[in-house]
């Protein structure tokens, strides 16, 4: 199983698509590491800097609705993964992106809109997020407070995360 948790990067927009996460021009790469420097390069979001320390230090993304829509490219989760981001927290996802995350043994966690709003209310501070898979809890920590939020995950998706991904799972079980 991968390790989850760390500093949070807030992306305050819905419908962030996979072209924005990793532009098509890098799809000729056949090594995941080569995607690293280009993560979120084309994201249209005021004030966002893909090269900032905040972006580079992040291990968790918190965003709004329909994250990862568009192209099926698994290069999108890979671009996150090679940058150390193995958790995305959103209201919901495009189906293929969500599946790609779990297939890579990564977490695509869904929280209801009010909870996401509450997380964005912390966004001015540095926020850390710890993930407890056993108890299905996320713990967010800022300089001012600590907040624990329960989450749920479909049993199949959890099995994929625990196995380390879909190839590993399919190999053992199918």
């Amino acid at each position: 199983m991968k390790t989850f948790g760390g500093k949070v990067l807030f992306l305050d927009r819905s419908d962030i698509n996979t072209d924005e996460i990793i532009p098509a021009k890098y799809l000729t790469e056949v090594k995941k590491d080569a995607l690293g420097p280009h993560m979120l390069e084309d994201l249209s979001l005021d004030g966002f800097d893909p090269q900032s320390e905040k972006t580079k230090d992040a291990s968790v993304i918190v965003t709004r609705a329909n994250f990862g829509c568009g192209s099926s490219r698994e290069h999108a989760p890979w671009a996150l993964e090679v940058n150390g981001i193995t958790v995305v927290i959103a209201i919901n996802y495009a189906r293929i992106f969500r599946q790609n995350m779990f297939n890579c043994g990564m977490l695509a966690i869904e929280l209801e809109e009010a909870k996401i709003d509450a997380l964005f209310a912390m966004a001015n501070d540095d926020v850390g997020c710890a993930v407890d898979i056993e108890n299905k809890e996320l713990t967010f920590t800022t300089s001012a407070k600590t907040e624990t939020v329960p989450f749920s995950i479909a049993p199949f998706d959890e099995a994929l995360v625990r196995a380390g991904g879909w190839v590993e799972y399919a190999d053992k079980n199918l």
Binding site: D15, N17, D19, E20, P23, A24, K25, L27, T28, E29, V30, K32, D42, S44, A65, N66, C69, G70, S71, S72, R73, E74, P77, N92, Y93, A94, R95, I96, F97, Q99, N100, N103, C104, A154, P155, F156, A159, G165, W166, V167, A170, D171, N173, L174
Partner: protein, 433 residues
């Protein structure tokens, strides 16, 4: 309670249900192209699992960047080519026979009603036009598909879209697709299949149906489907006549067995009277930002692109050429036509369509995805805009800083002639404003 077409396909292809609601399906076809498959092959090799479940069920094409534009894309082609040879994959299409996957594979007769199909490409939903369950997947799903011939899905619910009425002048399948996306929004169909029904679909040929199912993903849909009928049958007949002992009645009965039952349950039903539709285009970076062309002000364009798996087929080139005949592109506009497949290219050439388009000022490229995803053949400069018959208008899709306006081939030609976004009826001579 009756079942929908997709429920019937899920039931008939179920391999196992490891957890409630997670269905592992046996696959009839796994399709591959050179962007998402080489990395799957490399990973399978790395894992010591470089095998294929059934070479006859794997269909392979080099289509996105072909001929290669640089060393990296040449290497992707090479990996795919060598893999196809290594496993004796007969249905492999390289330069000289290739074309955009979702136009090529139907043309070769690889799709059947009731099939389960995956590909590492989001517009795989196109093949649902034949009454199949066809879904785009990522590379890991593709790997497992190649290795084991299975894929896991949450069983999708179905949204039924009833299309009635008759298309007005200058209104095409593309306008219908955009109207459906406008109504459903970009994630209104997530985890759902969109079932396209009604007299409008019944009257459409397979190419028009594919234009519509192609864009189901732009509303978030897992797939889009049509009921397989006599039109489907006629399209597939050269490939299946033998299978059914030359008996069309028998074949049609088999097709109809897949139809959604009358009492099937739908998550949502949307009724659209297409008679009220006007020619439209997208204005913005999301495919649900759809506007009537007649209501747009002066919006200059720099390029027209006619091609892609949405609208690069023969009927699209006929539609474009019919409008372009005797006209010229505005001097400020570059026109690019990329026939979707080699066969489309040749047929368009025989019919004189390419000549008509070239006479109007278009350049004709080989069959490839090219500019549709901004990889070659017509990438935009920052602040340029393109009237395109493609399916995606995301920020940067056709080149960083560029704007893509999605529309029908007729509207794209009209816009090219005017030099700005234009209702095709203006050029057809029927003034509507």
């Amino acid at each position: 309670m009756g079942k929908t077409l997709v429920e019937k396909i899920f039931d008939s292809h179920l391999k196992s249900e490891p957890f409630e609601g997670t269905k592992v399906l046996n696959l009839d076809v796994v399709m591959c192209h050179e962007i998402t498959t080489p990395i799957a092959i490399a990973d399978l090799e790395w894992r010591g699992k470089d095998r294929v479940f059934d070479a006859s069920k794997i269909k392979v094409v080099i289509d996105h960047v072909t001929p290669p534009k640089d060393t990296k894309s040449a290497v992707q082609s090479k990996i795919l080519r060598e893999w196809a040879r290594r496993y004796n994959i007969r249905d492999f299409f390289d330069i000289g026979q290739n074309g955009v996957c979702h136009a090529l594979f139907p043309e070769k007769g690889f799709i059947r009603p009731g099939y389960t199909i995956i590909m590492g490409d989001s517009h795989t939903c196109t093949h649902g036009a034949f009454g199949a369950f066809a879904a785009g997947v990522g590379t890991t799903d593709l790997e497992v598909g190649i290795l084991k011939g299975v894929c896991a899905f949450r069983q999708p619910n179905t949204i039924r879209v009833n299309l009635r009425g008759a298309l007005g002048r200058g209104v095409y399948a593309k306008d219908v697709a955009l109207e459906v996306i406008r109504q459903l929004t970009v994630n209104g169909a997530t985890d759902h299949v969109i079932e396209f029904r009604g007299e409008v679909i019944d009257r459409m040929d397979m190419e028009q149906r594919m234009t519509i199912t192609n864009m189901a993903i732009e509303a978030g849909g897992t797939s889009g489907v049509c009921m397989p009928d006599g039109v489907t049958l006629d399209y597939l007949w050269p490939f299946i006549a033998e299978e059914y002992g030359n008996d069309k009645v028998k074949a049609l009965d088999a097709f109809k067995a897949w139809w959604s039952d009358e009492d099937a349950e739908y998550a949502r039903v949307v009724d659209i009277d297409v008679s009220t539709l006007e020619p439209v285009a997208t204005v913005g970076y999301k495919p649900d930002q759809v506007k009537k062309l007649s209501e747009l002000g002066d919006m200059k364009i720099d390029q027209v692109y006619i091609g892609s798996c949405t609208n690069g087929r023969l009927s699209d080139l006929r539609e474009a050429a019919a409008l372009a005949k005797g006209k010229k592109l505005a001097p400020t506009v570059r026109g690019i036509v990329a026939p979707a497949t080699t066969d489309v290219y040749r047929q368009a050439m025989k019919e004189g369509l390419l000549d008509t388009l070239m006479e109007a000022g278009f350049c004709v490229t080989n069959a490839t995805c090219g500019a549709c995803l901004g990889m070659s053949n017509g990438v935009l400069a920052p602040d340029e805009s393109c009237a395109a018959t493609t399916n995606r208008n995301f920020n940067g899709r056709m080149g960083a800083g560029g704007m893509v306006h999605l529309m029908s081939p007729a509207a794209a030609v009209a816009s090219g002639v005017k030099g700005a976004l234009c209702d095709p009826r203006e050029i057809m001579g029927e003034v509507t404003k």
